[in-house]
């Protein structure tokens, strides 16, 4: 046997082990001065210490805590409850409250989730069974991956010079999955809803991408970390037109009212999702809310300065996380508010709006982006 080859393998193994070692995690650790003593205590424990180091490793923190899974779940539970509550308050009602009177029924979405979880999942005879069951789970790939590219202060899952482009490309995949879901459902309402979704997809996607490109031209880079660093003045003041387009297309993309055309429960009974029941409906129903969360994060990164904000020394690295979270939540609350105050547009009205007006304004935003890049000297 070749001795050199064996030593090469050995080196590779050592390198791999060093990557998985606690020291490697600790080099790139989230620092939180407020609870540092507790973290130190936990790190000194034999097995728990390794886990804590792993979770506090910045890429893993981005994946699991913020902006990844943990925050996503919490936001989902909160925003669904909040939307019901807000609608109720606007209609002079109380909204869900009896489940937990002390906190205004804040765990209502959790109870609904539990009920969904234990309900029968019906796969009707006409459905394409494998796709019908696979797509609601596969859709988490384009939903969760963009979260890794979004920087929260110094915490970022994957750094890349093309992170914005990759995130937008992944987000654009979500409607494809929704169309596939509608196709697999194979029912009349699902068919109508799918067609509407496809129409809306083409209508909002072009102004949306043009707005993002105008911001790339403005900042001179597609790296979101750099974009956040360059925003001494928030992007919404540099290019308000692009911000407006981005907001409006977000409303369309997440099928909020007044553009809740593909789902339209009063007309076509939740369109593509009509045949889903039990936990599968729980999964597909949250897609738009997840998309809303990503787009709100993206919007706060592009236009509101991301994790920029007054530094709070006690929170350390979490300071950026806090600011990004606050900004994203403000946008989501605004989007929820739209639901209870607007009526629904017809499909042709929405299409005319986006192909005519939005397309023209988004071309204008491109020009503004180029001019602002030169005027503010943001460089390439």
């Amino acid at each position: 046997m070749n001795v050199n080859g064996l030593s090469g393998l050995n080196e590779l193994l050592n390198e791999l082990l060093s990557l998985l070692s606690m020291q490697h995690f600790l080099q790139n650790q989230v620092s939180i001065p407020l609870i540092q003593p507790i973290i130190d205590l936990l790190l000194s424990m034999p097995f728990v210490g390794y886990l804590v180091a792993l979770i506090l490793w910045k890429p893993m923190f981005a994946l699991l805590i913020f902006p990844g899974l943990g925050t996503l779940m919490a936001v989902l539970l909160f925003i669904i409850w909040f939307e019901r509550k807000l609608t109720a308050r606007i209609q002079w009602r109380k909204g869900p409250v009896e489940i937990l009177r002390q906190a205004g029924g804040v765990i209502q979405a959790l109870a609904d989730g539990m009920r969904y979880f234990f309900q029968e999942v019906i796969v009707h005879r006409d459905a394409h069974k494998p796709y019908f069951l696979q797509f609601p789970i596969l859709i988490f790939i384009p939903v969760l991956l963009p979260l890794l590219f979004i920087p929260a202060g110094s915490i970022v899952g994957i750094e890349s010079p093309y992170s914005l482009a990759i995130a937008v490309a992944l987000i654009s995949l979500i409607p494809v999955f929704i169309v596939a879901i509608g196709w697999a459902s194979n029912s009349r309402y699902a068919y109508i809803g799918t067609i509407r979704e496809a129409f809306m997809y083409f209508a909002y996607e072009i102004p949306f991408i043009l707005a993002v490109i105008s911001m790339i031209l403005l900042y001179g880079t597609a790296d979101m970390v750099e974009i956040v660093e360059k925003q001494n003045i928030p992007g919404i003041f540099l290019n308000p037109v692009a911000a407006f387009i981005f907001f409006l297309t977000t409303v369309m993309a997440t099928s909020r009212l007044p553009f809740e055309i593909p789902e339209a429960d009063q007309e076509i009974a939740f369109g593509p999702f009509v045949e889903y029941s039990g936990i599968m409906f729980g999964l597909v129903m949250t897609i738009t809310y997840e998309k809303m969360y990503i787009l709100a994060l993206l919007m706060s990164v592009l236009f509101l300065g991301g994790g920029n904000g007054p530094d709070i020394p006690l929170l350390g690295n979490l300071s950026g996380v806090l600011w990004l979270f606050v900004k994203a939540m403000a946008i989501m609350v605004l989007l929820s508010f739209l639901r209870s105050i607007y009526a629904r547009l017809r499909l042709d009205q929405a299409l005319r709006l986006s192909w005519n007006t939005l397309m023209k304004i988004s071309l204008l935003s491109l020009a503004i982006g180029i001019v602002a890049n030169i005027a503010f000297g943001l460089g390439w």
Partner: protein, 357 residues
Amino acid sequence: MSDDSVDFLHSGPLAPLKKWGTKWSLWPVHLVTACCGVELAHAYASGYDGERLGSLNYGIARQTNLIIVEGAITRKMARVLKITYEQMPEPKFVIVMGACGLKGGLFWNGYHMVRPSDVVPVDFFIPGCPPTPEALLRAIRSLQEKIVSGEARNTIEFEKYDLSKINVRGEQPLKPPSPKHYSPTPPIKVDVPKEVDWSFGKKLIAELKSDLEGLYKSITITDKNRIAIQAEKDDVVALASKLSKRFDHVKNVNVIDIPHEYSFIVEYQISSYSVKELMPVVVNLFARIPRNNPRFPSLAVFWPSADYLEREMYDLFGVWFEGNSAMGERFLLAPDTPEFPLRKDRKLREEIYSEVE
């Protein structure tokens, strides 16, 4: 009873979670069959706000777990109710609202009525016509308690009376009167004359009398703008061909069943849309036919609007309109409705009273 659902919620180590989730998330599907739906809307609007209990009205059967049957269920809607129930995923519950859902209520013993408890397993009944929103919310509360405790309870405990003591008249216990109670039947007159100040009517009658000479038995003014023409069955076609020049449509076709005189009265209410003076005038053209051979010439040739009305009368009374091409078919009634349900000699479902221990 839908105890399968409750059994499922009470089984396994995750039972507390299942019970908790289902208890606070009872979503009724939109299936508004009758007027109690107004009370349902009221119960979920800003006054009472049923959403406080975590209950949310939802559009689609697949994503809900509760049906609130609002009132009367007809034979046709029974099918819809069953399909909706079958579409819903387990565990699922049913609340029936209103007197109609209990025993028929206003439509008691109607030929078209179905008891919801014959179609789907019912968890709770709410009596009332209609029940108040409070009563509906109380039923939802009771259902929540049933989900947690596993057994359905009345929300009201009635006082118990000793029936033998309230019987003061004699030894025989009081019995409710038989529902088959015939009242003495007065002769039925369709053309009761009435003196009214209607000069145009008198002129019109004179014209009609000279026009229809020899075809009618009598022409009377029964009220202002109302004229009744009695005729023999054999003369009706000739009468109609003459009347159709003056009057252009049939408003209504009606059959009166008179079992004690062994006859039907067939009425055609005809009027005009084209002549302004005749617009308010309704002429009632009627004839008697024997009950054992109910045949009548169809007048749909002269007035096309009579076609559907004749079919409906065949559905309900079995009067055969000769010349109408759709005779012998079901028109409006559900396939399983008893034959000719509005005939007075149709057998009713007998109510049986018995003491429950």
